[in-house]
Symmetry: C2
Subunit: 343 residues, 2 copies
DNA sequence: CTGAAAGCGCTTACAG
DNA sequence: CTGAAAGCGCTTACAG
């Protein structure tokens, strides 16, 4: 790496002190009464030498790294990579970079990544917290580290978050199924105490009750994050063969994709033999003969709000907590509709 | 943000100079003959105070930020987000963080993101270069900034890269179609001079020639990155209605997904009425009644090699250029096969 | 209108 | 075996 040009280099060429160069390049020339002549010369030389400020040095002085840490379950999950993209755009436009890390839904890994990024002096975090990471989050609060939770939160902690109304969304999704007249509706979720999953299950139960059906635990299947493929196989088989389910609600995109694979693997037709509704978008839904109705989360808005809340907190503009709950809508038709429905 | 504990804090508590603390915590106590007693005390206090080194300060001194910049076309594209994940894992395991940015296949945007991350003193870059960014890349070389190109490269520049053999892969993909006896095979790619697209077209032509068919330009459709949806509509219609194509080769996952939407939109059956082969994986392929044969890139290997090559360069262990070309294989059956084919 | 100086939190050559 | 000091590239209060 070639030696980068510094303030001193410019100062030497122009024949002034680094103070003046710093003032001018930070547009504080006026208020520090730098003569327009030297200011002009400094700007010229800076351009000629292609000066790029060293943000590291600046950070050390200002105690601000102008970077934020983004910790999600897995950056390769479309839900999170789409989120990452909107967070990137939002952050860059406000002069912040984004450093990312994946937790794999594991609280030990989360803590490790968090510590790693802390070492890098990020100014704050956007975190999709894992199960059992309350202690870690509490520590952040204790250290007054700015952060905002996304996708999930903890009722026991008064932390900032940006989430969606999972209860309402799930209720809508399941009601959509029930309106077709089914009485035996299964659910597959992750085995997790995380609030968003709990609320998805609650929404499912509420929809059943509203339809005059008493929820039955045997229709609720939970699989673990790390071995969901094999457990999904078992769950789908049980729902279809033993519980005679007429429809299944899958609680995430990953679960829906895997569940549908299993359903097709068993040679079942959707929706004739087994109907389906899912949480989260997937590029795959557009392609089934039967379009998979699903809950579409406002990913862009979540990302933008998360950055906004975080930066407000970093800049100390934040009075009290910011707890933001957005609405997610059921999509029951492919988009763009005109392209796919015509001809 | 609470004040972080520094070396000085530890030094004060123990009653020694910061030098000793630094030596001990960097495991250079022995070689600097720090007494085991003070060393032990220092480690104790560091633990008690939960000391986390300030990487920013360290970076300023060492001129190493221990971070790398990853610039792709779009982090929300599954190809790149999967790549990002393997790069993250690889980088973290070597004590590097990853800062990312998207170029949207736009050379101006690329330059902007590059400058932005340069300001952050990243130690090097992993870049999927856009069309027309040769000048920017040349500048990196001139400045001796370590970097490695992925997915594409420029024949006119002797830069490090990790790519796959696009020519061979495309030839294999198209040959697979031709073996079924088709004679009119279309291709849809992006309108781009980027080498990987050129080689995918070349591979297509080679396959045709090998099968005794003279390539005809009218079967080659190119769409622009920014407006590919509408152009795809036109391309697919032309191929089907005017050119009477029997099969189409889509040159990326995005193109394949959009193309398939259009094909279905026209009510055509795959593969009976129009056959298809694609470049890149997509979660959607597993779900069609007819599994879409496609080229599967070794994403994990590409990411790992890219990090390896970059870090070697950063550490000056790199003699000459590293030009790595991996093989990509055609997948003509769903995986895991046993799950989907049985029952 | 301008410069010398301190300091952000580290590392490390040097002196003792 | 240990400490004082310089320096990484900035910013900024202060003196003149």
């Amino acid at each position: 790496m070639k030696k980068r040009v510094s303030l001193k280099d410019i100062a030497d060429v122009v024949g002034v002190s680094t103070s003046l160069v710093s003032y001018v390049l930070n547009n504080k020339g006026k208020e520090n009464r730098v003569s327009e002549e030297t200011a002009k010369r400094i700007r010229e030389v800076a351009r000629e030498l292609n000066y790029q400020p060293n943000q590291i040095a600046r950070s050390l002085k200002s105690q601000r790294s102008q970077s934020i840490g983004l910790i999600v379950a897995d950056i390769s999950n479309p839900f999170f990579s789409n989120m990452a993209r909107t967070i990137e755009d939002e952050a860059h436009s406000r002069n912040y970079t984004v450093i990312f890390g994946s937790s794999d839904e594991n609280s030990t890994k989360l803590k490790k990544v968090l510590d790693f990024l802390t070492t890098r002096q990020v100014d704050g975090f956007i975190i999709a917290p894992t199960e059992g990471c309350e202690e870690t989050v509490r520590e952040l609060m204790k250290n007054k580290t700015p952060f905002v939770l996304i996708d999930r939160y903890f009722e026991s902690l008064s932390a900032n978050y940006v989430i969606i109304d999972n209860f309402q969304a799930s209720r809508d999704a399941v009601s959509h199924l029930l309106e077709k007249g089914y009485t035996r509706v299964g659910l597959v979720s992750y085995r997790s105490e995380l609030i968003h999953f709990r609320n998805r299950v609650r929404g499912y139960e509420e929809a059943l009750k509203n339809a005059g059906i008493t929820p039955d635990a045997k229709y609720v299947k939970e699989v673990s994050y790390d071995t969901f493929e094999t457990e999904m196989k078992k769950a789908v088989r049980e729902l279809i063969f033993e519980d005679k389910a007429e429809a299944i609600f899958f609680c995430t995109n990953t679960l829906a994709i895997e569940g549908l694979k299993q359903i097709f693997g068993l040679g079942r037709k959707v929706p004739e033999e087994i109907d389906v509704v899912a949480f989260d978008q997937s590029i795959a839904y557009d392609f089934f003969e039967y379009f998979i109705p699903h809950i579409s989360q406002p990913i862009k808005e979540i990302g933008q709000e998360a950055v906004r809340v975080l930066l407000e907190q970093i800049n100390g503009e934040n009075e009290g907590d910011a707890r933001i709950c957005l609405k997610a809508k059921l999509k029951s038709h492919p988009a763009p509709a005109d392209e796919l429905k015509t001809a």
